[in-house]
């Protein structure tokens, strides 16, 4: 490889320019905006104005609590499901593989708005198919949109449906990179399939699982569209309000950019902290 500064930077310039304008500057800018009172003209520097409000704001803690609750339940359930999908799809015994792959991978191409509309229809109290099915097996209807617990469950179900296959694709690629002879040797040594899964597959797949978990955590941390559209602006009564929705409400409904920036940096801080914990937990021994 040759050292060619001028040529290299000619190829990089358009990309770095976009990066500088639309990422580097905004990262710095939103940090500075979070220390300003932005509902007066002109904005004025007031270091504790937004951050002081944040630590005493029940709406913030409600959104934080909901976001963490979704994170703690939905991400592990989805990743486990994705591992099951990937392992089963990888089985040489599987017939009609294409059909199964389509079923699990298809949600990857479905947009948030389209599937939000479908989930609202499916879970409708009176004419939704889910409640009709519950009724037909003798169970009571569930009012998915007016009670907090079912509403939260609905959000988690929707996100899991949308993203499990996405993670399964990444995990499947990871599985296929595990050399076949590891399993052949284990089978010769009469190690059961179940033990092979726990003692060979999972450890070797760990880096990929961590990658999926980190991406999912960052995605769920910013959850916006599902509570915005499916449970209608975080309803019932803020029961599914997330940090992403709070940021939207403060930044783009109340036009309070300073406070919204403080919320954004809180999300970034959480994402970075969780990512670091995750990497530390799964670090290589030695």
């Amino acid at each position: 490889m040759r050292t060619q500064n001028a040529t290299a930077y000619r190829f990089l310039t358009p990309y770095l320019l976009i990066f500088a304008i639309f990422w580097v500057w905004p990262i710095i800018s939103s940090f500075m905006i979070s220390f300003q009172a932005t509902r007066t003209v002109p904005w004025r520097f007031a270091p504790t104005f937004n951050w002081g409000r944040l630590i005493g704001d029940p709406a913030f803690f409600n959104a934080l609590k909901n976001t963490l609750l979704i994170l703690v339940i939905q991400v592990p359930v989805m990743i486990s499901l994705a591992i099951v999908m990937a392992v089963l799809l990888n089985s040489p015994l599987l017939k009609a593989r294409g059909l199964y792959r389509f079923a699990f991978f298809a949600p990857v191409v479905v947009g948030e708005v389209a599937y939000s509309a479908v989930f609202r229809l499916m879970f409708n109290l009176d004419f939704g198919i889910i409640n009709k099915l519950l009724n037909s097996v003798g169970l009571a209807k569930i009012d998915w949109f007016s009670n907090v617990t079912p509403a939260m469950a609905l959000i988690m179900i929707a996100v899991t449906w949308r993203w499990a296959g996405y993670n399964a694709i990444i995990l499947l690629a990871g599985l296929q990179s595990i050399p076949e002879d590891v399993y052949e040797a284990a089978t010769l040594d009469r190690v059961s399939k179940v033990r092979q899964f726990f003692y060979i597959t999972l450890p070797l797949l760990k880096p990929v699982i961590v990658f999926c978990a980190v991406l999912s955590i960052i995605g769920t941390m910013q959850l916006f569209t599902e509570p915005f559209l499916i449970t209608e602006r975080g309803g019932p009564g803020g029961g599914t309000e997330t940090l992403g929705l709070l940021l939207y409400r403060q930044g783009f409904r109340s036009l309070n950019f300073g406070y919204a920036s403080a919320v954004a940096y809180t999300m970034a801080g959480l994402a970075i902290a969780i990512t670091l914990v995750q990497l530390w937990l799964t670090r290589e021994p030695k």
Binding site: W25, S30, L94, F105, A114, F127, E232, M267
Partner: protein
């Protein structure tokens, strides 16, 4: 021998018994969408469970078009997604090429900041991006606003860097010895060799733009400037809405992508497996 094949049969049976119900559940929302996009609105309120498509799609689509200019919004979405994909593929390939082919001052730093943005939530840049595009540049409700800010894409660059570094660099060096300019080597030797990777990246980027919701919702909120997902989103939650129309819109957003997915599954999966775009 027979006990071994019996065990295989048993395991195969178990495998399909677990996977089939799961697959049916997973396909169910898509099937629901198709069924209800073809059903008259009064059928939606019927007490029975409807599982088969009807023939009312065009009337439903007509209702949708009455509620919002969905055809116009689809036009914007297609144009924006195509332009975005072309520009983004070019930009990320050029950057990936620079990182794969040359040594240069600051290379480690460039790679580090690209990697650093992967785990950084988009929320952090959202507000300044909005202020800049809407207030400073006065570009709200334009195509430029939809296309340019999302052009930065870290995983795409890493994907293309990987693609180019796996190629035989002797070939490029030979071309250079022949006196071929670097940009011609990139354009006429390296890019054609990277066709499968470019296909994977294009599909993923097109899909990301086609489905993008939050940024277009914020920046292009005027009725004539909305993308299709934003236009459809304005109808969700309205009390007087045609459910059939809503589902017809959802079908129009989804089914073309499903067809592309089936036709180009290999590229799709390659793009996602490489984590090209979340």
């Amino acid at each position: 021998m027979s006990s071994l094949s019996q065990r295989r049969l048993g395991r195969s049976l178990l495998l399909h018994l677990v996977l089939t119900p799961l697959a049916v559940i997973w396909l169910f929302p898509l099937w629901t969408m198709i069924v209800f996009s073809t059903m008259p609105d009064n059928g939606i309120f019927s007490p029975g469970i409807e599982l088969l498509p009807h023939d009312n799609f065009l009337a439903n689509f007509h209702n949708l078009q009455r509620d919002t200019d969905f055809v116009g919004a689809i036009g914007i979405s297609v144009s924006v997604a195509v332009t975005y994909t072309v520009l983004s593929v070019l930009l990320t390939s050029m950057a990936g090429w620079a990182l794969a082919r040359y040594n240069f001052v600051g290379k480690g730093f460039v790679v580090a900041i690209i990697l650093g943005t992967i785990t950084l939530p988009y929320a952090v840049v959202l507000i300044p991006q909005f202020i800049m595009v809407a207030r400073d540049f006065q570009l709200a409700n334009t195509w430029v606003a939809l296309i340019v800010p999302p052009l930065f894409n870290s995983l795409g660059v890493l994907f293309m860097r990987q693609a180019f570094s796996m190629m035989p660099h002797d070939l490029f060096d030979a071309a250079r010895v022949e006196g071929v300019k670097e940009w011609r080597i990139f354009l006429f030797v390296a890019l054609p060799l990277a066709r499968p990777m470019l296909a994977a990246l294009s599909i993923i980027l097109f899909l990301a733009s086609w489905n993008n919701y939050l940024w277009p919702l914020l920046i292009n909120s005027q009725p004539g400037a909305m993308t299709a997902p934003v236009a459809l989103g304005t109808l969700i939650g309205l009390t007087k809405v045609s459910w059939g129309g809503l589902m017809a819109g959802a079908v129009m957003l989804t089914v073309p992508m499903l067809v592309v997915f089936v036709l180009l599954q290999r590229h799709f999966i390659a793009g996602i497996a490489a984590g090209a775009v979340k």
